[in-house]
C-alpha cells in the first residue's frame, strides 16, 4: 500500500516527467485523476495541493510537492537507495556530479523548455482542444529550439549524456516534450547526429516506455 500519490493525467508532459522519475526509481505510486475538462484543477480541494491550479501535484506521508522538476528531485532525495542511484549525480560523485546535473537541469528549464513547450502546445494541444494554430509562433519557437539543440549537439559530441557518462534527471526532464516533438517534427532532433543518438537512447529506456504505454491507454 503506497503513500505516494501523483495527481494528474499521463498525457500531460509535466505529469509524465514525474511518472518517468518514479519508474526510474522503482517507487510505487497511485495516480489520482484530475478532470481538467470539468475544471477540477481549479477546485478549492485541488488548489490546496497546487496553488497555481496546475498538474502535477504530488503527496506522500511527509510532504505535498508541486513543480514537476522539484517533485523529481524530492523523489531522488527521499529514495537514494532505490532504483536508479545515479539520477542526481551518483552515490560517489559528490558535489561535482550533482552540480553538473543541476546545470543541465537548469538549461532544460530555461532554454529548452520555453520553445519546446510552445511548440508542443501549437503542434499537439491546439489541434486537440480546438485552438487555432499560430504559424508565426511555430516558426519563432522552432528557430529558438534549433539554436538550443545546436548547443546540445556540441555537448553530446563530448559527453554521452548531458551531465556526463550516466543518464540522469538532466536527460529525463526532456522526455515528455521531446517525445511529442519527435512525433511531429522529427528532423529537429534526428537530423542532429549527437542529439539523435542521445534521443534514441533516452527514449528507449524501460521507464519511459512504461510512461508512453500509460499515455496510450484511452482516457475514460
Amino acid at each position: 500500500m503506497t503513500s505516494v500519490t501523483v495527481y494528474g493525467a499521463p498525457f500531460s508532459p509535466a505529469v509524465s516527467r514525474v511518472l518517468a522519475c518514479l519508474y526510474e526509481k522503482d517507487v510505487d505510486f497511485k495516480l489520482a485523476p484530475v478532470d481538467m475538462a470539468k475544471g477540477q484543477h481549479k477546485s478549492p480541494d485541488f488548489l490546496k495541493l497546487q496553488p497555481f491550479g496546475q498538474v502535477p501535484a504530488f503527496q506522500d506521508e511527509l510532504a505535498t510537492v508541486f513543480e514537476s522538476r522539484a517533485i523529481c528531485k524530492y523523489i531522488c532525495n527521499k529514495y537514494p537507495e532505490k532504483g536508479n542511484q545515479n539520477l542526481i549525480g551518483g552515490r560517489d560523485g559528490g558535489l561535482l556530479a550533482r552540480t553538473s546535473v543541476d546545470q543541465w537541469l537548469e538549461a532544460e528549464g530555461q532554454s529548452f523548455n520555453p520553445p519546446s513547450s510552445a511548440l508542443v502546445f501549437q503542434l499537439a494541444f491546439a489541434p486537440m482542444f480546438g485552438f487555432k494554430q499560430d504559424p508565426a509562433a511555430i516558426e519563432q519557437n522552432e528557430a529558438k529550439l534549433a539554436n538550443v539543440l545546436d548547443v546540445y549537439d556540441r555537448r553530446l559530441g563530448e559527453s554521452k549524456f548531458l551531465a556526463g557518462d550516466d543518464f540522469t534527471l538532466a536527460d529525463l526532464v526532456h522526455l515528455p516534450n521531446g517525445h511529442i516533438l519527435v512525433s511531429k517534427k522529427e528532423d529537429l532532433f534526428l537530423s542532429r547526429k549527437n542529439v539523435g543518438r542521445w534521443w534514441e537512447e533516452i527514449s528507449a529506456r524501460p521507464s519511459w516506455k512504461k510512461v508512453v504505454e500509460m499515455q496510450n491507454v484511452p482516457q475514460s
Binding site: F52, V65, E67, A70, N77, T99, D102, Q103, P114, V151
Partner: protein, 218 residues
Amino acid sequence: MSLIKLYGMPMATCTMRVLLCLEEVGAKYELVPISMPTGEHKSPAHLARNPFGQIPALEDGDLTLFESRAIARYVLRKFKGQGPDLLKEGNLSESAMVDVWLDVEAHQYNPAISPIVYQSLILPRMYGGTPDQSIIDTNLEKLKKVLDVYEARLSKSKYLAGDFFSLADLSHFSYTKYFMATPYASVFDSYPHVKAWWEDFTSRPAFKKVAAGMGGHQ
C-alpha cells in the same frame, strides 16, 4: 584555495543572483566583467564557459559552470556552514519546499516579471527602443495572478519555503529590484504580505551590497 571567478556584470539580473549567494556565504571571489555591447558573451573564450553565450559563468579551479540557479546551489553547498543555510538539504521536507519555490520563481514569477522589466527599462535604456505596452499589460495580468498565490502563501509562512529565508526568496531579488524602478511598482501595494516580504529581505547586508553594484541602473 583558488579564487572563484564570476564572469558577468554587477547590474545584470542573473549575475546578481550569484553575487548574492557569494556575499551571503562570505566567499572570496573576483567579478570579471563581460562586455555585452561588444559581443564578448559570444566570443569563443566565453562560449567555452557558457555554451549558450550568456552571463554569468563561474570558474572555480578546474570547474566551469553556467546557469545562475545551478551556480547558486554550488556556491551554497561548497560554503555550507559558512553562512545561513539557504538550501536546508539536511531536511527532506524543507529542502523540497526550497526546490518547489525556486521552480515557482523560475517558471511562474520570472516569465511574468522579466518581460515587464525588459520592455520598460532594458529596451529603452540599453537599446533606445520603444516599450511594447501590450506585452507589458499582458504580463502585468499574469504577474498579478502569481502575486495572488504569493500573498496567500506569505500570509501563512514568513518566507516562501517556510519560516526560514532560503535560496527561493533570494532568487527573486534582482528582477524585483528592477521592477520597483518601473512605473508599475505600485502593483505590489495591493499585496501587503508580499510587500512586507520584499522589504524584509532587502534589508539584508548582502542585498544592500549587491544593490550598490547596480550603480545607476536601479
